[in-house]
Each structure stands twice: as structure tokens, then as C-alpha cells.
Symmetry: C2
Subunit: 226 residues, 2 copies
Amino acid sequence: MSTAPISDSSRAAVEQLVRESVYRHLGISGAKQGSAPNPLVVNSSARHCHLTQDAVEALFGKGHQLTPMKWLYQDGQYAAEETVTLVGPRSRVISNLRILGPCRDFNQVELSYTDAISLGYKVPVRQSGNIAGSPGCMLMGPNGFFEMDEGVIRAAPHVHMAPEDAEFYGVENKGFMKLRVGGDLGMTFDRIFVRVSPDFKLEIHIDTDEANACGLGPDSIVELVK
Amino acid sequence: MSTAPISDSSRAAVEQLVRESVYRHLGISGAKQGSAPNPLVVNSSARHCHLTQDAVEALFGKGHQLTPMKWLYQDGQYAAEETVTLVGPRSRVISNLRILGPCRDFNQVELSYTDAISLGYKVPVRQSGNIAGSPGCMLMGPNGFFEMDEGVIRAAPHVHMAPEDAEFYGVENKGFMKLRVGGDLGMTFDRIFVRVSPDFKLEIHIDTDEANACGLGPDSIVELVK
């Protein structure tokens, strides 16, 4: 499992550009990628949480504001310096659970299946924001506890894209497409959920279980197909 | 990660038979599976090791014989009652590493990528038995230590099958085929290595990372294709 919450995204974009250039020279697949409007970036998201401002204040103190530590690939999103401790249903604990900012209007913890098993959880696979009926947890910060009644999920693999990307790939918002990853552990993710917004940069998010399964690395050959 | 070293294999076979029957009634895919000579069983292998008799004696005492605890799906193979402690390169430890018997003529430890990362290892993806140049480790048992100079690998996903299965699927020994897994985390393993022997029963082995990535469970819809 990667230890950083999110890989270095600007580096990822540069690496992908280099990779696509190399593929073109080698004549490897990705003919379509070559003419794509934007580089394809695949990032693996380690466990993290999104919190409301209320939750942040309960955990870190009245008026506390999250401090950006590292900017993510999507504009305005960041890994915060702040982390919390998650206490699961059997009093098992995950320390240093990274908070991603800015604050949202709901609380959500995203775990890999491996994380969930180690905590003794049964967590559903969900799209971000769809947390009804999911299990809760207790979060612990330097200023106190915050109880979530629900919101612990395993995030389904998804792709963020702008309308121009959707048009290029021939897909629609809330549809599904496929991600092929090459190599010894070659694998096709058959259900990558599509999220389209003018605010999005083209980026696929898979979790650490999925990245470990296919051996995703900076030199992986990746291809997004309808 | 599953805690048992191998799932209950006879139950897996029965479940698969039931599943295939249900699919046929529902008219779901697997038309080809329906006429396959043998049921398709997919098992996830948690971390384990194969040892020589010499290694067993160094770890458990002169003349010690492994004791079968649970018979596996492949005839004659078993999870032993004996486990060892693995000490990795940074003195990090995995306890209760299950030994699979009977003894072989080489020593091999099979870890998931998640296991390897937690130990601080960089382990190669290999087919069983192909251990040249892989990293080693120290094993610890009740009678002493046993040092392996090499043999720590991540096992590549593979399928065991009899010649009649190979003929049915149209594949050859040491070729590759695909495994489709349905569900919310639908995934296609594009490189399942084929191992054919008259001694083999049809069974796919993936590791816990791969099983967690696709959410493999007893109700998963699985399909093996060329």
C-alpha cells in the first residue's frame, strides 16, 4: 500500500505525457490516446476522509481551518496537514487517516477492502457522496471525538473528466467505461464510473487494493476505452 | 485480507456448481461454462510458503513431518498445522505464515503486494518455482532459524487444469487466458497463466490483493475465457 495519501500528481501528469510520447514512438497501442485532448492520469487513492467544517472543529478546536499540505491534481483539492485516528467497530484503530480538503457538506471515510477487513468492517462499494446506509465510525482528534453515524465506504473506481474528454471517448456522465492496465499483471477494470464536469481534469481514481492488484506504477501502460 | 490461508475448497466447488445452475436458469452468460467438463473454481491464496524437508527439520526439529490441517482442492495438497514467522529485510515480521504441504524440492514464500510493502520488500511477480534472483528472508520456527537466500515472490495469477479442460477452452500449457469477474467492481484478469497436467483439477489461483480488488466472494459471477 502506498504510504502517501495521493501520488505526486503534477509528476504523474508529466510521466503520462512522456509515456504517451514513448508509446507513439514504439508504436504501442494508445493510438487514440495520442490524439486525446488531455493526458490520461491514473492515481491510486490511499485511505482518507472528507469532513464538514463542524467535524473539523469538533476534532481540532473551535474555528480551526484545515492547512493544505499538498495540492492534488484536481484544482483546489488538497491533502491537509491534519490527520485523525479512526476507531472501528471492534475498537481496532487506523492512525494518521489523512483529511482531504476543502471541507464538504458531508462526512465520508474512504477505505480499501484490506483496510476494512483489518478493522473488522463490512463496507459497501459506493460512489462518493452516496453514503446512505453505510456503516459509521468514531474519529479522534487532538481536541476530541467526532462520531459518524454513516459514511464509511469503499470508493468505486471512477474517472473525472471534462466535457471535451467525454466527447472524445464517447461516454456520458454517470456511465461506465474501461481501464486497461498492461504488464505481467495485466488487468481490465470493466466498470470505471464516469463523472463529467467542466471543473474536472482527466484523472482516474482507483484504490490501493486495485493498484496493488494490477501492479500500477509510473511505467504502467494504461488505456481508457469505452 | 482473508485470515484463512485457503478458502474451503470443497465448499467452493459446490458453490460454483450451484452458481452455474442458477446462471443457466437465469440465462446469464456462461453458456460455455454450462457445457464445460468441470466446474470453475476460483480461490484466493493468502500468504503461505512451500518448504523442503530440510527446512522443515531446521525449523521444527530432526525428523519432523508436516501435519495436514486442511486438504486443498488440488489432490494431495494441504495446509499444514505448522506455521513459521517470517522476518523481512527491515526486521519487520509476519507471524503465522502457513506452510503448504507436502514438502517440495525448493523453498518458496508467496506474499501479496500488500504483505511485501508492509515488510519493506520489493518482490517480483513470478510463476511458482521460478525463483532465481528473487529476494530471500529469514524463517523462524520453534526449533530454530532457516535462512532463504531467495524464493520470496508474488505469485502470478494462474489456472490449473487437466488436458480435457485445455481442449475445451482452446488453450495450451504455459499460455495465457482471461478471467472475468462480475459485480460492482467488475474486472477482467487479462493474464491468467495456464498450467496443464492430468493431475490438476480446474482451479484458478489469485492472491488476496487481486481478490480484494474485484470483491471476489462466493456469489461472484466468474467466467474463464481464452
